[in-house]
């Protein structure tokens, strides 16, 4: 009896900790997505108000969120039915890095039209991933 109770206790702890970990990952994803949205808003505001500093600030914030998406950790934070598509999410993250790096290069070279084109491409990557992962 004692053994059964101990086993039940241990299983409950395990299930609860797994749930907590999953919740943590989901919370992390939601936090990252909110940060990405804020970053995109900052870049857009910078572009519309001709503030290159603000655009750079937005890029820095955006790139700060990419590490998790680029890593294998992405598997833990994607919706369960979309975990198989983690490579697609990783690819999206690497494209976000590529375009945001290019935005900095364009800003520094004074090519604002190209920097704004990079913004368009960033937005396209965001929506492309949402279409796929969130089944729009």
């Amino acid at each position: 009896m004692k053994k059964i109770l101990m086993m039940l206790g241990l299983s409950s702890v395990l299930v609860l900790s797994l749930n907590a970990a999953e919740k943590d990952h989901r919370t992390m994803l939601m936090k990252d997505m909110r940060s990405m949205l804020e970053a995109m808003e900052i870049i857009q505001r910078g572009g519309l108000y001709s503030s290159t500093e603000e655009m750079k600030l937005g890029v820095k914030k955006l790139q700060g969120t990419l590490k998790v998406l680029e890593s294998e950790e992405i598997k833990f934070i994607l919706p369960k039915d979309q975990v198989y598509a983690y490579k697609f999410a990783q690819k999206t993250a690497s494209m976000l890095r590529l375009y945001s790096d290019d935005m900095i290069t364009s800003i520094e070279a004074g090519h604002m039209d190209e920097a704004l084109e990079d913004y368009n491409q960033l937005l396209k990557q965001c929506t492309s991933c949402h279409i796929r992962i969130r089944n729009w």
């Binding site: 198989y84 598509a85 490579k87 690819k91 690497s94 494209m95 790096d101 396209k124 796929r132």
Partner: protein, 242 residues
């Protein structure tokens, strides 16, 4: 001939061409000819520069070559069965055109531009989400395999019917590479049929093209004389297929 008669004939000829411009091209079927563009003829060769023969292509293998530009990837596939013939296709803007058939002895060899018609997913040296899925391999994009699948948003194209859309988000076929097979069985790319997205591709993937080809000017260079062809698994480090 009197001047008046001459003018009448010229006007009638111009009217016929205006109504159906494809008449002046004989074998072209696009409404206004714009859906078929000829480029410099390029021979399909392997990595060492040896011409590839149509009959030597592995069945159901995705090969990649760049054409008509140095950075625009195309798929070359030897299908397990003969293709359909005279397939009527439509671009997303409503222009009709006809894809004739596969080439080679059994009409099994086809080539398409490997830039997805939906969001321009394409193979890069890093990865590829677009490929031909052999008949024996399942895909999430469609109920049967033996088709081309873009695994980004699961668009499916009929490889044996001019890359007609079978399912997914794509709204028009992949552009086709027009191939000729010479008497000695060597393969030549001669043009592009259907709605290509080359200009959008150059615009959208500028940073990537800079990274892989050294710059936009290099990426936009037209392929000349020959086009090197490798298996997709050699072209891209990672091939992802759902």
């Amino acid at each position: 001939m009197e001047r008046r008669n001459f003018l009448k004939i010229m006007a009638a000829g111009a009217a016929v061409v205006a109504v159906n411009p494809s008449l002046i091209r004989g074998t072209l079927y696009a409404d206004d000819g714009r859906l078929y563009v000829t480029y410099e003829k390029a021979q399909i060769v392997d990595a060492s520069g040896t011409p590839i023969k149509a009959s030597s292509l592995e069945k159901e293998m995705t090969y990649i070559f760049n054409y008509p530009y140095a950075s625009t990837p195309c798929m070359l596939i030897n299908l397990p069965e003969s293709t359909q013939q005279e397939v009527e296709l439509k671009s997303e803007t409503g222009e009709s055109y006809v894809w004739k058939n596969g080439v080679g002895k059994d009409r099994t060899v086809v080539a398409y531009v490997a830039i997805c018609a939906h969001q321009m997913t394409h193979p890069t040296p890093n990865d590829s989400f677009i490929q031909y899925v052999p008949k024996s391999k399942p895909t999430m994009a469609y109920s049967k395999s033996g088709i081309i699948v873009c695994s980004s948003h699961l668009s499916a194209y009929d490889a044996a019917a001019g890359a007609k859309v079978l399912g997914g988000a794509a709204t028009q076929p992949l552009a086709a590479v027009v191939l000729n097979v010479a008497e000695d069985d060597t393969i030549w790319a001669v043009g592009i049929l259907g709605p290509d997205k080359f200009q959008d591709y150059f615009k959208s993937f500028k940073p990537e093209l800079k990274e892989f080809y050294g710059g936009i000017a290099q990426a936009k260079q037209l392929v000349s004389i020959s086009a090197k062809t490798v298996k997709l698994s050699e072209f891209s480090k990672e091939v992802i297929q759902y």
